[in-house]
């Protein structure tokens, strides 16, 4: 009953926030484009056309063609799949790791906490992009590896957040009561504390997706991300750079797509945050 009213309250607030709704629509469009790419895309993404190499946008190819005469619009629609998958999987991995470490540190405290926090400090000191590049170059740059590496290097924020939540929640009455009743640590962590700490994690996850999308596109742009001929926004941009003088459409459109996507996730994330009961939010933060 409690969750029900919270849920409807949340939806009501969310709907009133125009920017949040805009973010949700952007993300929704992205999901639809990605899922239905074969139906939405006007051409096959890998169809080579030797007669239409590097054609500027026209009626047949609204966003032009690339250096093998492939339709840029179609490739971008297929590229949305990569973007979506990387964002969700990488953040999923990061969240799981972050929750585990954060929960352990926050719940047990003491030297466990100190070691974990020190490890987090160390990880935060190494420039993440350096770390990702180093690892990617040594393993095979497949899309799965990229997701994993982005995830493995992006969990520290979540861990800190979860730890803070735990610290504030673990002395509350219901947790103390559960412990007194002899509930196992595992049960306490996951049944009693976790549920109550999820809201900020969700917000940070949605915002994290935006970051993951940016990292993936940067890696693909540098040529060590998603491998061709699989289309991704980042590797279309690489073609844009290679043909900077003669094919502006290869630089402009994929970049816009990234920008809009990242804005979308950010708006959505902030919208969710603002729509969660602000009082609840504040008390949880303290």
């Amino acid at each position: 009953m409690k969750t029900d009213s919270l849920g409807s309250l949340f939806l009501k607030r969310f709907k009133q926030n125009r920017l949040a709704v805009a973010g949700a629509i952007i993300v929704l469009c992205l999901v639809v484009a990605a899922v239905f790419a074969p139906l939405v895309a006007p051409y096959k993404p890998n169809d080579i056309d030797r007669k239409h190499i590097l054609m500027p946008p026209d009626i047949h190819h609204p966003l032009g063609t690339d250096d093998l005469g492939r339709d840029v619009l179609s490739r971008m629609i297929w590229g949305a799949r990569i973007s979506l998958a990387v964002g969700f999987v990488a953040v999923g991995i990061a969240s799981v790791i972050g929750i585990i470490f954060g929960a352990i540190a926050g719940y047990y405290g003491g030297w466990t906490e100190r070691i974990i926090m020190r490890f987090i400090d160390i990880m935060l000191t190494i420039p993440t992009f350096f770390l990702i590049l180093a690892v990617i170059a040594f393993i095979e740059p497949s899309i799965w590896n990229i997701m994993i590496v982005i995830g493995l290097t992006g969990w520290m924020g979540v861990a800190r957040l979860v730890r803070a939540e735990f610290l504030s929640v673990k002395e509350r009455d219901y947790v103390v009561a559960a412990r007194a009743l002899g509930a196992s640590d595992f049960r306490i962590i996951f049944r009693h504390i976790m549920i109550n700490s999820m809201a900020p994690v969700l917000v940070s996850a949605v915002l994290g997706i935006a970051g993951a999308v940016l990292v993936e596109s940067a890696l693909s742009f540098l040529g060590i991300g998603v491998q061709p001929p699989t289309p991704s926004w980042g590797n279309i941009l690489t073609l844009g750079k290679d043909n900077i003088e003669i094919a502006w459409w290869l630089s402009v459109f994929p970049g816009l797509a990234i920008l809009i996507t990242v804005v979308g996730y950010n708006l959505l994330g902030e919208g969710i945050r603002d729509s969660i009961d602000p009082r609840l939010w504040e008390s949880e933060r303290k």
């Binding site: 490890f119 160390i122 540098l222």
Partner: protein, 333 residues
């Protein structure tokens, strides 16, 4: 105060150790032998020759021994020999004492990041404050939106667009390197102008993302401070708004920003890979990228470590800055 600093220094030691451990082992988890890059696909390369190369690099020893040897050397700032074909000492590549300061890679990257940081703070602080004091005005909305876009804008895309506009179409600014071909024949003024021109685009790109984050942070921290009791009291005393903002609120609003600036160092350094790569800037980021592409083990380890070390220094500086800005710490609580 000294105690606090000393404590911070001591805390850095295990962190440093952890950093070397992480950078060393991450790289050794990867498959493949580093001498591959030396022999490439060369019709004149025999297996014997390859084995010889592997021996030359001590790769036959156990990993833990390799780490021990490496650690012993890096204490003396000796990061070993590069795995690339030139086999120069890695430190010489990063900090070539035979070159003037301005041409040393670490110095270039360090300076560029420092300049970017200064630009960021110089713009982010006033913008953040003014949009906080003009909350919900058109100005606030515009800056917030711009900042938001800046946050979401992939830096390499921004770089690409700027190169296209100022380098290709308008032909106003150079798009590659740090100086022109004719640099040596220029007058002193000409040299400075030439360098500045080369810095415009990379600095703009490097600063843009950070600018967004920092000014946004400054704004919200200012908004929070303005709501505090002592500000209300100051206002109630009838102090002019300017005094209230700049004397009382500003200092306290700055505190979280200092921490944030310290934390943004790794992001900036990591970002140098991208903008140095795009703008052909011969800094450490470019070197790192090349090292990554050629599997230059020792170079990657060295730069990971140095990058982390720079971050540590950044954090320490932020702490010191914090100390000076926060009277509670300065007076020893």
């Amino acid at each position: 105060m000294f105690k606090y600093l000393a404590k911070r220094f001591l805390e850095m030691i295990p962190t440093l150790f952890g950093i070397t451990l992480i950078s060393f082992f991450i790289i050794h988890l990867a498959p493949g032998k580093p001498t591959d890059a030396l022999s490439e696909m060369n019709p004149k390369m025999t297996p014997e020759a390859r084995e010889r190369l592997e021996k030359l690099y001590n790769l036959d020893k156990p990993v833990i021994v390799q780490y021990g040897m490496w650690l012993k050397r890096i204490v003396r700032l000796d990061f070993g020999e590069s795995f690339s074909m030139d086999r120069r000492p890695v430190m010489q590549k990063i900090w070539d004492t035979k070159q003037p300061l301005l041409e040393r890679r670490l110095f270039i990257t360090f300076m560029l990041n420092l300049i970017a940081m200064i630009i960021i703070l110089m713009i982010a602080i006033p913008v953040g404050i003014s949009s906080a004091t003009h909350q919900n005005t058109l100005y606030d909305k515009i800056t917030t939106t711009t900042v938001f876009l800046g946050f979401a804008m992939p830096s390499f895309w921004l770089a690409l667009l700027l190169m296209m506009l100022f380098g290709v179409y308008l032909d106003w600014l150079p798009i590659s390197g740090l100086k022109s071909m004719s640099y040596d024949s220029l007058s002193v003024g000409g040299k400075i102008l030439d360098r500045l021109k080369h810095l415009v685009l990379p600095m703009f790109v490097a600063a843009f993302g950070g600018l967004a984050a920092d000014s946004r942070y400054m704004r919200s921290s200012m908004l929070e401070v303005v709501r505090q009791d002592y500000v209300t009291v100051a206002r109630a005393k009838g102090l002019p708004e300017k005094t209230v903002i700049y004397r009382h609120a500003f200092r306290n609003a700055l505190l979280p920003l200092i921490t944030l600036a310290g934390l943004s160092v790794p992001g900036l350094i990591g970002g140098s890979v991208i903008f140095e790569n795009i703008f052909g800037i011969p800094g450490m980021g470019q070197l790192f990228f090349n090292g990554v592409m050629t599997r230059d083990y020792s170079l990657i380890m060295a730069i990971l470590t140095i990058g982390a070390f720079l971050t540590l220094i950044g954090n320490l500086l932020a702490d010191i800055g914090y100390m000076f800005a926060d009277p509670r710490i300065r007076t020893g609580r």
